[in-house]
Symmetry: C2
Subunit: 169 residues, 2 copies
């Protein structure tokens, strides 16, 4: 979890280089990814693991997970939206979203109010406390995104957002 | 889990379009992602969820998960490699890898043999059964990758592999 801290910025290859020099005669050739080298899914998983861990590391003092951040951010951007619209937009299963909202309500961050348009559903809002908490969370989430830009390269990050923005819509 | 099956190929927008037409007067404006729209981590999670589910769906009759497939593929490409080199290459925690190898050995797919170069470690190999199983797995994993290329667009897929190939190395 701490492998970012003392690492020099240019040492992207240091992990492998180190193990090479520690036991130079033990492997005759560099390792191959084999058929994985053609699987985008494999490369996505690798970066996703890093992103998830860096998010938790960077936001550790705020006790918030990526999915909770997504929910708070979308409620802030669309005050009054329904649970089902929120579930659709984020691709979260309804039962799981209901549990997340229970927890966010208990922490006093989000509120379910009766919907003025549909009495079977709720309209979602941030509480004043939730707005304040999200403000603090956003600062650290921005730091996390800056870490990712540094790790990946800002231009690659920009291109990838463009490539992925419409996926699944 | 079955949402790909009856869906026409051009209907990427059908989900949202449908909910629009079901209750046309209920939302005045399209939903916004808010601050998430600038977070690459958010878009990575969305595609990663799709990839994971499509992998399980496409390979369901073979009882293999993405991480097991990665392990088998790398052992095949590097017969005799050590557990620690495998853990480093795939970014898998050592204890978790040890448990995975236990299971793959029990299923008769992988073998740990004494290392000729280092008596504290093992050299990893696929069994003949493991080679045959991997051959079948690769066919369906190729189908899964083709699903992803169709969903994302083959050119975007190619560019993303190039962008991500060196991440974390």
């Amino acid at each position: 979890m701490l492998n970012r801290a003392p690492e020099p910025k240019s040492a992207k290859l240091s992990g492998r280089a180190k193990s090479r020099s520690r036991k130079p005669a033990q492997r005759r050739e560099p390792l191959s990814l084999g058929v994985l080298d053609g699987h985008l899914g494999y490369f996505l998983r690798r970066i996703q693991v890093w992103v998830f861990q860096d998010f938790l590391r960077t936001l550790s003092r705020l006790d918030v997970r990526p999915a909770q951040y997504s929910v708070l951010a979308v409620i802030e951007a669309n005050p009054g939206l329904s649970q089902s619209d929120l579930a659709d937009l984020l691709g979260i299963e309804r039962a799981r979203l209901a549990r997340m909202l229970d927890r966010l309500e208990k922490r006093g961050l989000a509120e379910r109010r009766p919907s003025p348009r549909d009495r079977r559903s709720h309209a979602l809002y941030l509480s004043r406390e939730g707005q304040k908490a999200l403000k603090r969370i956003k600062v650290l989430a921005g730091q996390h995104e800056a870490n990712l830009a540094e790790k990946l390269g800002p231009e690659k990050r920009r291109v990838m957002i463009e490539l992925l923005r419409d996926f699944g819509r």
